[in-house]
Amino acid sequence: MGTMNARVLLCLVLMAFASLIAHAEVAVQVQPTGLTYTPILVNGSSTSKFDIVFIGDGFQKAEQIAFNNKVNEAVTALQNRPGYSARMCGFNIWRVNVLSTDSGIDHPKDGISKNTELDCRYGDPAVNEAERCIVTDSPAKCFEAAANAPARDAVFVLVNDTQWGGCAGDVVCSAIADGFDGLITHELAHDLGKLADEYDCYVCDGTDDNRTYSGGDPWEVNITNNTDRATTKWHDLINMTTAIPTTSDTPPGVVGLWEGGGYYRRAIFRPQNNCHMRQTADPFCAVCARKVDGDLAIRCLAVFDVLKYRRFIWREPFRIPIPICLSCPQPPESNPLDRVTLKMAGLPRDATVRIVDSNGKVIAEAQPSGDGVSVDFQSSRAERYFAEVIPAQSMAAQEVTLRTELFRNGEAQELPVIRQR
């Protein structure tokens, strides 16, 4: 009986220990500031900025400077790549220093096994994985590490290995080989600009190199099956003398309709012969650069919380997120549209208020008259909306007391009120 009790006790202790391991915190370096992350580039509210988090795996404590340098390289690559370079104001970039026991990561093919904090490894060809596909076997740990940063729209795991490779799923894992920054800037263009890949095959193992596209016009801005010069997606960038389809790249960089892209070789077209979305060593084509630049531009405006009353010094254009209705009773069968009215009082008469969606598309616009401004628009449950408040060009900084009201389907929606002190 005593032995039995001892066994049960041992079992319980082991289970408790296992549970502790399962929920163990990722080993993260605390910075001299007291923070568990390092702000690399902070431009403003995470609500509007695109927040990038870099974490590392296979970097020991003494190797953290090497990790920091690689993060800086990636940031420099962003700053130097047209498309991103003029709109760095749209990013917040954070770094989390994860401490690994061993240096480097696993190479199953070569029988190399390392004890690293995020369990990253190269692919194992023995089980039909591509060797260069770097993945983590503990994605939850990656998310836990990244959660140290204040916000995260994209998480990049840089692994301490110089053999080229990387794989992008929920987290993006990349080696720190020469040119790794191209992987970062390519993946960001998917996340941020929703750009399509422009290469011609999908699996690219020789079985699908010559496929013909047969669907409708893809929704991404950088591939199309529309060969009408006047209506194709990037028609404004195509010179009238450029042949359609386009086969001549003289001088280099001709914008036209180049066949191949979106994983198909035929009956689908891309804007330029070479583009970062086709081959990471190349710069963005004009269409992709314009899309990324535009998506970042709308993230550059200042953002404030919506409050019922706000007193502030108004210096520059700003956005307020239109709150989502948390108690709307409509059934979810479809994607219902709400009738929304935004009222703002206290703005100068020459200001402009416009409602934009998350892509920056203007849905409605109005200027104050009389007591204030009232803007009506329809709101989808699948979209986020912002009120952009734009001052007249001549406006000097001035104190404004802004009173905001929001009505959804005729009913007033409660807005936060700050208790007066």
Binding site: G44, S46, A151, C167, A168, C204
Partner: protein, 238 residues
């Protein structure tokens, strides 16, 4: 033992003297309230922020990341992820100190860390976030659509992501970056399927319902939404 006690008392006394000697400055804030992740401009009556590296601001006891050093008297800081309610903004660096009240508003969104195991969705962790919820995307990969349903059964928000268990990964193959071969790699069987989803916070609790949808389907379309295949749900606590 007594010696140690006296040393400790002396240290505490000296520390109190040091902090007490710090000159105080009046602080004003650009906003009386802000939610985590938002920017607040802190203006000191006297030069409290000699440069960007020595500016130290705390909100609710946590360091507030510096967004912009404007001048020796003005900085923009981000509200850290602290609990909603009455809080204090404190200037702690340099030779000046000061404090001002700030109402921290509740975060509007949360990041759910989810695991998909044996066809079941499990909540692994929840983090407040200032980020936007995941909106409807379209891609050439299978999609995982979600509806956030409030306690009254109403649709609060709907969005989608690439299906974490079915979508292929993008592989950066080839011998080097210059000769990189980009292609798609199937999901690796046996690896844990963990993913994140950002959804609005619903104060009285909510349900997240998951659906599978085909690649390229426009999930803003009512018919496409009705054709989604329900695959599970999770409850979010109040």
């Amino acid at each position: 033992m007594k010696t140690f006690v006296w040393i400790a008392i002396a240290v505490v006394f000296l520390a109190a003297l040091f902090w007490g000697c710090k000159r105080r400055t009046e602080l004003t804030l650009s906003s009386e309230g802000a939610s985590p992740g938002m920017v607040v401009r802190v203006t000191a009556a006297q030069p409290a922020f000699p440069d960007a590296t020595s500016a130290r601001v705390e909100i609710g006891g946590q360091p507030a990341p510096l967004a912009k050093w404007v001048s020796a008297t003005e900085v923009d800081v981000l509200v850290p992820n602290v609990a909603a309610g009455e809080s204090q903004v404190k200037v702690t660096g340099g030779k000046l100190s000061g404090a001002a009240p700030l109402t921290v508003l509740p975060a509007s969104a949360q990041e759910l860390v989810l695991q998909l195991k044996d066809g079941r969705f499990e909540l692994v962790a929840v983090h407040p976030t200032a980020d936007e919820p995941n909106m409807v995307t379209r891609s050439q990969e299978p999609q995982l659509s979600y509806d956030l349903i409030n306690a009254q059964g109403g649709l609060v928000f709907t969005g989608s992501i690439n299906h974490p268990a079915q979508a292929r990964m993008e592989l950066f193959d080839g011998p080097s970056a210059r000769e990189a071969i980009l292609r798609r790699e199937p999901p690796h069987p046996g690896r844990p399927v963990v993913f994140t989803l950002k959804v609005p916070i619903v104060p009285r609790g909510a349900t997240v319902k998951f659906y599978e949808a085909a690649p390229q389907v426009n999930l803003l379309d009512a018919a496409a939404r009705q054709n989604r295949k329900p695959v599970g749900e999770i409850k979010l606590e109040k």
